[in-house]
């Protein structure tokens, strides 16, 4: 806002000039902030490519000389188990969680958004209140339950609960469904669509963007999940990337190049997904954030 320039009697040109200086300053601040945000990542990349003696140079060297690409090979072969196993585990867990999240929440949110049934208001309030619930209060009984099932060192405890809907996504999808005009429902009913037909033929195709948002968020959170895998998985062959990295930190705490290499690899999937789908990300945050 060109607040300073709104004073009485200032000429058009001076308003224009002050507006331009203001824009210049805003860009300057934003760029400076952006650089501060990006420096740690640049430092991560730089460290990951340095020869050992340059890592502990003070003042720091920004551009590695030479670029040691073999750091990447050494870092991924440092584990007693093939690195591919960790990537595969992470992928399996994240994709299954994404699948369960999308399927279950699409259905549940549809019922809350479009169908009238007794107790729907009360149920929805319970759904919303569970959003505030810290998972720690259910963590111990669930661990006991799942260990009784013989699910320790399997991915079931991490995946199965996601097939039973989740407050956050029910809320997100319900918000989206309610923006689809009701006239479409009526038209579909007149054409002989039942509830299931209405869901399959009208709501699902129209809510692809929202389902996309759900899938992206679910995947990113699943990929970044730490506490759950830490509790349930103890054999190295079952580790997802996050736990493998934590193991590396515990075993070789000062191998900074290697630690930066694996950190960089671990952040690639969510970061690439974010770049590809940033519009959806922002839309998802707008839907859930503003009307929270």
């Amino acid at each position: 806002m060109s607040g300073a320039a709104v004073g009485m009697g200032s000429s058009r040109a001076s308003i224009e000039r002050s507006r331009r200086t203001q824009t210049f300053f805003i860009h300057a601040v934003l760029i400076a902030g952006g650089i501060i945000v990006m420096i740690p990542l640049a430092w991560m990349l730089s460290t990951s490519l340095k020869p050992p003696h340059q890592i502990t140079k003070f003042p720091p060297i920004w551009i590695p000389d030479p670029f040691v690409w073999s750091n990447y090979v050494r870092a991924v072969t440092i584990f007693p188990v093939s690195f591919v196993v960790f990537v595969r585990n992470s992928m399996y867990m994240s994709l299954m969680i994404t699948l369960g999240t999308v399927l279950s929440n699409a259905v549940v949110a549809f019922a809350f958004a479009r169908l009238t049934f007794r107790g729907s208001r009360v149920l929805f309030i319970i759904v919303l209140s569970t959003m505030m619930l810290p998972q720690q209060v259910t963590m111990i009984p669930l661990f006991i339950l799942f260990s009784k099932f013989g699910w320790i060192n399997t991915y079931n405890p991490l995946i199965v609960p996601h097939f039973f809907a989740n407050a956050y996504f029910v809320f997100l999808l319900r918000q989206f469904y309610t923006t689809i005009p009701r006239e479409l429902d009526d038209a579909a009913r007149i054409d002989g669509c039942g509830v299931i037909g209405l869901f399959m033929r009208i709501m699902l195709p129209l809510s692809k963007p929202a389902l996309g948002i759900t899938a992206i968020f679910a995947f990113t959170w699943a990929w970044n999940e730490f506490l759950g895998p830490l509790i349930y998985l103890s054999r190295m062959e079952t580790f997802p990337l996050a736990i493998a990295l934590s193991f590396l930190r515990a075993a070789h705490g000062v191998l900074w190049s290697e630690l930066m290499v694996v950190s960089f690899i671990a952040m690639l999937p969510p970061v690439l997904l974010f770049f590809v789908a940033q519009k959806h990300y922002i839309q998802g945050i707008v839907i859930t954030g503003v009307k929270g």
């Binding site: 420096i39 430092w43 923006t179 930190r249």
Partner: protein, 326 residues
């Protein structure tokens, strides 16, 4: 109308038209389908939330390592909340977590809000800035933790190098009990981008006519900020404060990775969830841990309720415009 429906081929239409399905039974049938569709959530709620919560409450009155069980009444609670700090670590973890939460929330919220305000000024390149500032929020906690561990490294870390440029001798950060928590707080500011996006969405929802009208009435920049921006953004701010308190009080991955699961030095970074993890899954004191989890939950609940109560005083809910936004 009924002739038209009968000619249609779908079974549902035939059912609709047939006399057996009155309007009333149709509604009942729909209700049944609705219950069927919400049943995954209901089952999940009972099996993975309500059931475990009650079990956890029951467990909190016992001492168990999963092999032996013993009823101990309120002993877990009295031990935890004992004022004798040599017997309990509860107060230490509460203090550490409160320190972290109440320093990191104002910092991340004001940083996020400030950047959102700048981006909302009709700035070119807004999408690029948005991506840059939001990026840290999508990076896995484990990668962020390892990266910041390296940045905070006392001898060769980038942060102490930057401080040395302005003539400050950097502290030993995570290795010093007086600065370890502060290091975690500073690190959290890096992720302020997620707040920024929520605030930006909120700011963009404020109708520009309000600002125009105020400008015509002679309101200056500060007046417009205080009388339009602040009240209009207050519901967003409320949402962010509530979710941030709940999220950041559960801080775990960072401390676990950066202190090798110990919460050191000298318990200076022993956060509530980290301690809960240690008690439950390192020492296998499931009863004691359950009592601890319930105290943690009740503290958060009281905080959330107080915030909701107080919101009437400081959160402005518009009645007309808010309903239309998608």
């Amino acid at each position: 109308m009924s002739a038209e429906l009968q000619s249609s081929q779908t079974p549902w239409a035939r059912l609709l038209a047939s006399n057996a399905w009155s309007r009333r039974t149709l509604r009942q049938r729909e209700e049944l389908i609705a219950y069927l569709l919400v049943s995954p959530w209901v089952i999940g709620f009972l099996a993975f939330i309500l059931g475990p919560m009650l079990t956890s409450l029951g467990l909190s009155f016992t001492e168990t390592d999963l092999f032996t069980w013993e009823f101990v009444g309120l002993e877990n609670y009295t031990k935890l909340l004992s004022l004798d700090t040599t017997r309990t670590l509860f107060w230490t973890t509460l203090y550490n977590t409160a320190y972290y939460v109440f320093l990191s929330i104002p910092l991340t919220i004001s940083a996020g809000f400030f950047i959102a305000m700048l981006l909302n000024q009709n700035i070119s390149g807004q999408p690029t800035y948005r991506v840059v500032y939001y990026l840290p929020a999508v990076i896995p906690g484990i990668a962020t933790s390892l990266l910041w561990l390296w940045l905070f490294q006392p001898e060769f870390g980038l942060i102490n190098w930057a401080l040395s440029l302005v003539g400050i001798e950097g502290p030993r950060w995570l290795f010093d009990r007086s600065t370890a928590k502060m290091a975690l707080v500073l690190m959290s500011v890096w992720g302020a981008g997620s707040n920024m996006l929520i605030f930006l969405a909120g700011l963009q929802g404020i109708p520009t006519e309000l600002y125009e009208a105020a400008t015509i009435d002679g309101a200056g920049i500060w007046r417009r900020f205080r009388s339009i921006t602040i009240p209009m953004i207050s519901p967003t701010l409320f949402f962010v404060v509530v979710t941030q308190i709940i999220w950041s009080s559960q801080v775990f991955t960072n401390v676990y990775v950066m202190t090798e699961g110990k919460g050191g030095p000298a318990n200076a970074t022993l956060m509530m969830v980290l301690y809960l993890y240690q008690v439950a899954f390192r020492q296998y004191r499931m009863g004691y841990a359950s009592a601890y989890a319930w105290i943690f939950f009740l503290i958060l609940l009281v905080f959330t309720l107080v915030l909701f109560r107080s919101s009437k005083a400081w959160v402005y809910y518009e009645t007309e415009i808010g309903g239309q936004r998608s």
